[in-house]
């Protein structure tokens, strides 16, 4: 691995984005699918649009592909305004959720379909198809029809076909949604590999947060037609800007209360009469003496039978449930206040004799920087 410069064009004010959305709005009659969305995506990025179904992520992707017009605002791709430009005139290709492989054509002809309709010379088409087959390791399947392929092979044909014309931008609509979990994880790495090899900008739509975290250089978390947060997977996970994002990505414990102190990096949350305020890192939207929410990931909560007096943040509770996942165990602990907090332990030893079981009184604790206080 060469440790060259970190790829982060979004931090570089000089960088020119490949895609630029300015105040993009999409309305269907009374319904607003996308509302005044502004977003820049840079060349060679692997950008994920993540959100629950109906959040507008697919609509945004279809607008980039030219399958939907924009009701307001402007989309430019490589500096060119895309208004009124049909899909066949855009240097953008799409990999469809259903793969949309032409059932009457062989794998070879599927890959050549777009090339035959470009200005590529006839004798070069064969070479290009062979190169694409090699890229997705399907050389042996060139003569097959789509119905003679497995789900994973179809997925790879769809990817190769979308990449064949060498688009500036590749749109992937839930590309791995139809694959089973094992294959999906393996394919995620293949996708990243191919993205790196070809240097194409990828925009992926997914509702699977793990998938987005794995493949993306940046993630846009969407909700009801708006972008809630755009950031790297690490920052989305560790520094969510709202309870919505924290809750959407991974598991999180949320305790609501009032922000009782705010100085610089740290904040305190008063979460009940007579309780020791929670000390945590100040996050987005935290305002002194306003309502706030403390969020912390289960793996950052330590569980112990003895009171950890060296930590400021410590609470007492009773183990209500234990979820054993093999690699991890999650303890759901009911606090005296009634809140339910989960704590996660890595099972680094086989059959560790920890002695914590159901109905046990336990202490939960976390460091002063493990959680965030957000505006609520």
């Amino acid at each position: 691995m060469s440790h060259t410069e970190v790829f982060a064009p979004w931090d570089d004010p000089e960088a020119t984005p490949l895609i630029s959305c300015q105040d993009v709005t999409k309305r269907y009659g009374e319904f607003t699918a996308i509302e005044r969305l502004t977003l820049d995506i840079f060349p060679r990025e692997f950008f994920a649009l993540l959100g629950p179904s109906g959040c507008g992520k697919t609509t945004l992707m279809r607008m980039l592909g030219g399958f939907e017009d924009v009701s307001g605002g402007r989309i430019t791709i490589d500096g060119q305004d895309m208004a009124g430009i049909p899909p066949n005139k855009r240097a953008v290709n799409m990999m469809f959720q259903s793969y949309a492989l032409f059932p009457h054509l062989t794998v070879w002809d599927n890959l050549a379909f777009g090339l035959k309709r470009s200005d590529m010379a006839k004798d070069q088409i064969g070479d290009r198809v062979e190169a694409m087959l090699k890229l997705v390791q399907l050389q042996k399947f060139a003569k097959r029809k789509p119905h003679q392929l497995s789900g994973g092979q179809k997925q790879r044909v769809a990817l190769a076909r979308a990449l064949a014309k060498g688009p500036k931008l590749l749109l992937l609509d839930e590309p791995l949604g139809a694959l089973d979990k094992k294959l999906r994880q393996q394919t995620q790495f293949e996708l990243m590999d191919i993205q790196e090899k070809t240097g194409t900008t990828f925009v992926i739509v997914t509702h699977d947060q793990e998938e987005a975290m794995t493949v993306a250089s940046r993630i846009a978390v969407m909700d009801e037609g708006r972008i809630v947060q755009v950031d790297t997977p690490g920052r989305i996970y560790e520094a969510p800007n709202s309870v919505y994002v924290a809750d959407f990505i991974g598991d999180v414990n949320v305790i609501r209360g009032r922000v009782s102190a705010l100085n610089g990096e740290s904040a305190e949350l008063n979460w009940g009469e007579g309780k020791r305020p929670i000390r945590a890192t100040a996050g987005a939207g935290a305002v002194h003496d306003a309502s706030g929410a403390f969020v912390i990931r289960p793996e950052k909560v330590t569980i112990a039978t003895e009171e950890p007096t060296d930590r400021h943040n410590r609470v007492k509770g009773v183990v209500e449930d234990i979820a054993y996942l093999g690699n991890l165990s999650t303890f759901h602990v009911r606090l005296e206040s009634g809140d339910l907090i989960s704590a996660q332990l890595a099972n680094s030893r086989r059959f560790a004799n920890r002695g914590i079981t159901w109905e046990d009184p336990v202490w939960l604790s976390w460091s002063d920087t493990a959680g965030l206080v957000l505006g609520d």
Binding site: A100, P103, R117, A162
Partner: protein, 295 residues
Amino acid sequence: MRLSSRPVLIGLPYLWLLLLFLVPFGIVLKISLSDVAIAIPPYVPVLDPSEGWAGITGFLSQLDFENYVWLTQDDLYWKAYLSSVRIAAISTALTLLVGFPLAYAMARAPEQWRPSLLMLVILPFWTSFLIRVYAWIGILSNEGFLNQALMGIGLIDAPLTILNTNAAVYIGIVYTYLPFMVLPIYATLEKMDGSLLEAAEDLGCTRLQAFWAVTVPLSRPGVIAGCFLVFIPALGEFVIPSLLGGSDTLMIGKVLWEEFFSNRDWPVASAVAIVLLLILVVPIVLFQRNQERSA
């Protein structure tokens, strides 16, 4: 119990096939090999089992291919076959021309409309076929609605002669068999994934190119099925050419009818029917192969 019920279950369809297809076919084949006679039934020989083995051999020795030879000697027959094939082929092409856009529009219509549209296509079957053909006489005749309307708007001065021509036969066949063309094409177009067209556009096709590159080849099984479903019955069609066609409309169904009822020549009529069946076997086998391949 299980052992004895299985052969019955499997055997039942074969029994129906035997009774409803093979036995009648055997009778027609036998009659086609007989000679015409003024008797009841109007042909000889008739099998008389009471005479035993000598009766059977005597019966078989009287059968011959005379009637088939006759079909080749009088040019009426091969001309009628040829003319039927031509009329059926042209009608099939016309039905496809009308039916494909109809099926396409139905398949692209909003989903909640489709059952109603489908019902509209099937609706004519609820009235008698004969009445519908008669209705066309009222429309196409010299004083019919069509001529009155065309003269009314001043498009023509003298009435067009449509009734009792081949044109009327084409209209009748297209009208009658349209649902058989529309339904299979609709079925293939309706289950076509719309994202295929988007993918074609995404890969550089215009809408029209996408139609030719994706929709047309994918609808092929439906088009072929529809064409056979129209061609096969149109080839032997009798009612439409006899009601709407003229004296020069030569179709084998009409010849068959005349041999049977006017000439009372059952053996020749049966021979005509057997040859028609042989002509139909070719497209039917082709049709079967198409069905198997698309399955």
